[in-house]
């Protein structure tokens, strides 16, 4: 009977101590930087030493060793209760800044009292040994009161702190605290029953060495609470449980081995399982963390994307409103000047007509600039859309020529449009945008031609194996361009050299916008020139089938 219980003692205490240790390291490795996890590991280690000392002190030992083992039980009990208090104090936080009082008063007190327990001021000597040779009674000295009050103060303060936290916690936050309380209550009841009531009332101290087994519920529940609070992924928890169970099973085999060879083999297996298990947990945790990071990044990206959409909408609205505001005075200026020029307010002298026309054209440049900026803003934000309608390209060219005729005549230029027969077919395109392109090309030709003419042509191109296209050409007898200038012609905010020399009008937006409009129609726009002083020809090719 005695033999069996002895074996059972060692077996259960060994398992409980190992379990506490394994849990301590698993929790610690979950988050090494968290003060809660660090405290938990320290608490688990002290619990192991305390319980081991407790077990040893209940065995038959030589006098001096027996005395020191009992003293060490008290030594570890001080740290055990202190760390219990600290665990309640820091849980569930990752970072806690301890006050100066904590660092410079509390810890010195704990150190002092724990070392006091190793001196004869607490236990001076053993007064009674059991028939088996185990310690039964000791001579208590006044230091025992200091020890007792410190230990109870820590337990009391810890419980107080925990209840304070439960009181302030939300319903959901209460769950981990409750788990800790349940574990603590089970451990407390077990200790109370077997370490106090049984020896005191029934004179049965057989269960005292089982301290480690009684401590386990608290450690287990607290470990679960820490895991639960971190809201760890189920995958991580499953890996941790698997590692824990495997470690316990292999440890059991170690304890049950009865041959040295098998013992060494099983210890190696246990250590392998434990180290690989911890590696596995860490890699699963890393994977889960990376996934969580990815999810949080995706979430942030979604938020940023929403913000960009909102900003983009605000920008579009701003551009629309700003151009509206800019256009209103331009409309009035354009309208009144045109009315004055048309003689609505009385006949105009020739002397006055020229400067008024200059004002009118300057105003027109502003009108076009606002239109171009609005178009550019829409093109660059991808909001420009085509509105297709059956359109006659010849009609568009005619209307543009009508608009620019006076301007060309004033500069002594001839505008010629040879509309070929049979080109009256209607094609589907965005009339406003193609008109804008044609207007731009002819207006440019007038601007960069000092004398001569501007000839506009239009022809349908039907070639086998190619789709039918319509080709518009605007040829002038102006300055001409080099190849380098042609290459840069249709880029945003650039102008050909001839442009800067002859005329500084325009912001270089017109041809860039024209290219965008033509390309939206799946067409092509390009320029040709035989060189300086030999004029330029601009081409626009549009597919007949849009």
């Amino acid at each position: 009977m005695n033999f069996t219980l002895q074996n059972f003692d060692l077996f259960s205490v060994g398992i409980a101590i190992a379990a506490i240790g394994i849990l301590g390291f698993i929790i610690f490795s979950n988050d090494r930087k968290s003060i809660t996890n660090q405290t938990f590991l320290l608490f688990a280690l002290v619990a192991i030493f305390w319980n081991a000392a407790n077990y040893i002190s209940s065995q038959s030992l030589p006098y001096q060793i027996a005395l020191w083992s009992v003293r060490s039980v008290l030594f570890f009990a001080v740290w055990y209760t202190f760390l219990l208090f600290q665990l309640f104090y820091v849980f569930p936080k990752g970072i806690v800044s301890f006050s100066r009082l904590y660092k410079f008063v509390l810890i010195p007190i704990v150190s002092f009292v724990s070392f006091l327990t190793l001196t004869p001021f607490v236990f001076s000597h053993i007064t009674k040994l059991s028939p088996e040779g185990a310690v039964e009674q000791l001579a208590n000295e006044p230091g025992i009161l200091t020890f007792g009050s410190v230990v109870f103060a820590f337990i009391g303060a810890g419980v107080f702190v925990l209840f304070q936290k439960i009181r302030k916690a939300t319903l959901e936050e209460k769950i981990p605290y409750r788990l800790i309380l349940i574990g603590a209550a089970i451990t407390f009841v077990l200790h109370l029953t077997f370490n106090f009531l049984f020896p005191a009332l029934l004179n049965d101290s057989r269960f005292i060495p089982f301290g480690a087994v009684f401590t386990f519920p608290f450690v287990g529940f607290t470990a679960y609470a820490i895991i639960k609070h971190r809201l760890l992924n189920i995958k991580v928890i499953a890996t941790e449980i698997l590692t824990f169970v495997l470690a316990i099973v292999t440890l059991l085999e170690v304890i049950l081995s009865n041959e040295l060879g098998i013992l060494i083999f099983r210890i190696s297996v246990f250590l392998l399982v434990l180290s690989f298990g911890i590696l596995l947990i860490r890699s699963v945790r890393k994977e889960v963390e990376q996934r969580e990071q990815l999810e949080s990044l995706t979430q942030k990206l979604e938020v940023a994307n929403e913000e960009l959409k909102r900003l983009d909408k605000a920008k579009s609205e701003f551009v629309s409103i700003a151009s509206h505001q800019l256009r209103t005075p331009l409309t009035a200026a354009k309208g009144y000047i045109s009315l004055v020029l048309e003689g609505t307010y009385g006949a105009l002298t020739e002397k006055l007509k020229k400067p008024l026309r200059n004002v009118y054209y300057s105003n027109e440049r502003l009108v076009h600039l606002v239109n171009d900026l609005l178009s550019l803003s829409r093109i660059e934000s991808g909001k420009m859309k085509l509105e297709h309608a059956p359109t006659n390209v010849g009609e568009i060219i005619k209307s543009v020529i009508e608009e620019l005729q006076i301007k060309a005549e004033e500069r002594g230029l001839k505008l010629a449009f040879k509309k070929p027969a049979g080109s009256s077919s209607q094609i589907l395109l965005d009339k406003e945008k193609i008109r804008n392109v044609v207007l731009n090309l002819i207006d440019n030709a007038i601007r960069y031609t000092k004398k001569g003419s501007i000839t506009i042509n239009i022809k349908e191109q039907r070639e086998k194996s190619k789709e039918t296209t319509i080709l518009i050409s605007v040829a002038d007898t102006g300055e001409g361009m080099t190849k380098e200038e042609i290459a840069k012609l249709f880029e945003s905010f650039s102008r050909g050299q001839a442009g800067t020399k002859l005329s500084t009008e325009g912001a270089g937006l017109g041809l860039y916008i024209a290219r965008q409009f033509v390309e939206m129609h799946k067409g092509k726009i390009w320029a040709e020139s035989e060189g300086k002083g030999k004029g330029s020809t601009f081409f626009v090719e549009l597919p007949l089938k849009q």
Binding site: S320, T328, T331, K334, V370, L374
Partner: protein, 127 residues
């Protein structure tokens, strides 16, 4: 010279006084009878009372805007068939689309036309 009863009547809805006056002058010089309104509500009342032959409608107005006018016009039988051109410096693709969907015959940008060109445009719609 056309008598008043033969003259075409146009309702110009424009909240910019300077522009309103300019278009009134030009249309009158071209033989139109002109009534002007500066808000959507006023335009509705005038349209019902005056039964114009044509409406030149600004979109951004103080008070109810041009889109509101177009919506109401559709519901009122007495004015639902009067042709309207949306005529604004506010060039937003969605607003343009709404105006055309609500029955505006065209959406013109004011700054691109001289008053005389506007008259010519309107004449192509009336005659």
């Amino acid at each position: 010279m056309a008598t008043n009863s033969q003259k075409k009547k146009i309702l110009i809805v424009e909240d910019e006084e300077l522009l309103s006056q300019m278009y009134r002058d030009t249309f009158e010089a071209n033989g139109f009878v002109v009534v002007t309104a500066s808000s959507g509500q006023e335009a509705l009342q005038l349209a019902k009372k005056e039964k114009p032959d044509f409406i030149l409608l600004d979109i951004l107005l103080a008070g109810e805007n041009g889109i509101y006018f177009l919506e109401q016009r559709k519901l009122l039988k007495s004015i639902a068939t009067i042709p309207v051109i949306a005529f604004s410096n506010f060039d937003d693709p969605n607003v343009r689309k709404s105006a055309l969907a609500l029955g505006a015959q065209d959406y013109l940008i004011k700054t691109n036309y001289t008053p005389q060109e506007v008259v010519s445009k309107v004449q192509t719609y009336i005659l």
